[in-house]
Amino acid sequence: MDKATKETYLSELETALASLTEADRSNAIAYYTEYLDDLGAISFDEAKTSLGTPKELARQVKADCAVKGLETPLTPPPLYYQAVPAGAVGAPNGAVGGSPYGTPTGTQSPQYYPAPQQEAPKKNSTPKVILIVILAIFALPVGVPLLVSAVAVIIAMLAGLASVLIGFAAVVFSLLATGVVAVVIGLVLLFSDFATGLFYLGGGFALLGVSLLFGALFYKLGGVCVKGVAKFFNWIRLKLSKKERGAK
């Protein structure tokens, strides 16, 4: 008989529950082992008909462990031990491989167990936090220069943009100033040397016109640049805040 058995089902379930803590996993496995025994299921397919595929079942178990099951109870656990008959805890006969379904005691006396969830959240989260800290430390030699250079690049880009704009402004201003001076000289010369005065006057007006054109262009360009820079910083801010939220 090469058909998959319920043991296959349970081992697949165990694999699918790998991300849980040992206590949570063995508890779920113990529960469903017993359930399938009581159901009288023998084959993989019988188990699947009742409980769904191992992966589906695992998802249900995991969803619960992650969301609701793991709050630490308010009352301390010793409550549970009060019901244990003296001596029953230490009964050594036939412990089943460390599973929480533990020792079949000879007596019929009930044996109470503490809720197995208590230490689970710590177990799960502490190594993760440590891992993240270690990763952060390892990333430091690469990350800090990277961050510094990124900031430097941004500053350089801004400086470049600003210098281009300032240069442009200077050109416009000098054109304007030259134009005004040329017009004034032209006006003065008009009375002593009419031809030269007219030349200066014409040249001055031409320069003023060009400077006005450039000025309008500069105004437009400047507006676009400021808007672009503002957008860029807004984008960075959004990215950073998103990351922060993601990290939480």
Partner: protein, 103 residues
Amino acid sequence: MGFQITAALLDACVLSILARGDTYGYELTQNLRERLQVSESTLYPVLRRLQAGLLLRTYDMPHQGRNRRYYSITEQGTAQLVQFKQDWSQFRDQLNSLLGKEG
């Protein structure tokens, strides 16, 4: 049925079954499924939740060469069940008056 059974209702149902006597996972599931349309994998999370909340406790008893885990309602569980019943009858009355059925 067009209505979902919420987690709180499931908790109440399980506590109510346990209030009639200790039982084990399979039997509890069958009991529940006689009256409610829930899947066979519904109960495990409920039991875990109730146990985490100290509303029930478990003990193992040998059965045909293996262990069977029994679930037993605690005092806190009994108190919670009373609360659940109060809440339920209030909820039921509200819905009945809304749906136009005599209380």
